[in-house]
């Protein structure tokens, strides 16, 4: 990976991990670290440990560096003692929320992809029908149902794959953000 790309990725990641401080503060931290990296590179030209990798290693991972900033902020504003059980409950909620979102998101996303795949592989024996005047969907292996209210494969396959992939992507993003706050 190119040198500037490595630095860019590191700083972008740092910015994400600093989401718990205000945007202005996070921006300032990122600018300072960026200035540090380029200054170190310029000052140590030719030196053995002047590679971007070495400089980034001395800063620690973006997550560790961000934690250094966030730890003393969160310690500084610790809630009063009486609120401890409350924060534990809140943490419990966000943890169960995390698993719920993972199960629902990944589950539904995979199911949609599976529907698209099945329709592609078994076009005549698998399908999705609109039933009860549009109020419900029937997903089934069947050759007997009337074909009139079946969603055509031409629509079903791209729509199901697109929604499935979109859902998986959104779940992954949401889970990543939630995990950071766990």
């Amino acid at each position: 990976m190119a040198r500037s790309e490595l630095i860019h990725d590191y700083l972008a990641e740092l910015q994400i991990y600093l989401s718990r401080v205000s945007e202005v503060q996070a921006q300032e931290v990122v600018q300072e670290i960026e200035s540090h990296i380029y200054d170190t590179l310029a000052m140590q030209q030719g030196a053995e440990d002047s590679t971007v990798e070495a400089i980034l290693a001395r800063l620690g991972t973006a997550r560790e560096l961000a934690a250094g900033y966030i730890d003393h902020i969160t310690i500084g504003v610790a809630p009063p003692k009486g609120l401890k059980p409350l924060s534990r409950v809140r943490k419990g909620i966000s943890k169960s929320l995390y698993y719920l979102i993972c199960v629902l998101g990944y589950g539904s996303g995979s199911a949609l992809l599976l529907v698209a795949l099945l329709k592609l592989l078994l076009p005549s024996s698998f399908g999705v029908w609109v039933a009860e005047h549009g109020n419900s969907l029937v997903i089934a292996f069947s050759q007997l149902e009337p074909q009139a209210n079946e969603i055509p494969a031409l629509w079903l396959i791209p729509m199901a794959s697109l929604c499935g992939a979109g859902l998986l992507y959104l779940t992954r993003q949401t889970a990543r953000i939630l995990k950071m706050h766990l």
Binding site: V29, E32, I33, S35, H36, D39, L59
Partner: protein, 119 residues
């Protein structure tokens, strides 16, 4: 595995590093990399880049140092730190406590026959 000296350094550093940074900034404002290089001149004060910057941020939040951005010539802007008025007071107080602590420990060494009276 950490050697016992390294463990002692960690313990010593908890209090002394803060004071060292304030002392470094006593003469003139400096930016992160300058502070890092100065600290690296002293064997027991060497810290990693990733430790210094969050520490500077904490000291700033505590109000003992202030910061400002400065661009010199063609260089990219750098964030400089300087002692605040509160920081100067704190440094004076810390220095007195440090001196007291060193004197006390040394006196204890003398009483225990670990050091000869030189003063």
């Amino acid at each position: 595995m950490e050697s016992s000296e390294q463990k002692w350094d960690v313990q010593f550093r908890k209090g002394s590093l803060e004071m060292a940074i304030l002392a470094l900034l006593h003469q003139e404002p400096q930016y992160g990399l300058q502070i890092l290089h100065k600290l690296h001149e002293f064997e027991s004060l060497q810290i990693t880049d990733g430790t210094l910057y969050p520490l500077l941020d904490r000291l700033k939040r505590e109000g003992v140092i202030d910061s400002f951005w400065l661009q010199e010539g063609e260089d990219r802007p750098r964030k400089y730190y300087k002692l605040s008025a509160f920081g100067i007071d704190k440094l004076t107080a810390l220095k007195a406590r440090w001196q007291q602590s060193v004197d006390d420990i040394y006196a204890l060494f003398e009483q225990s026959g670990l050091a000869t009276k030189t003063r």
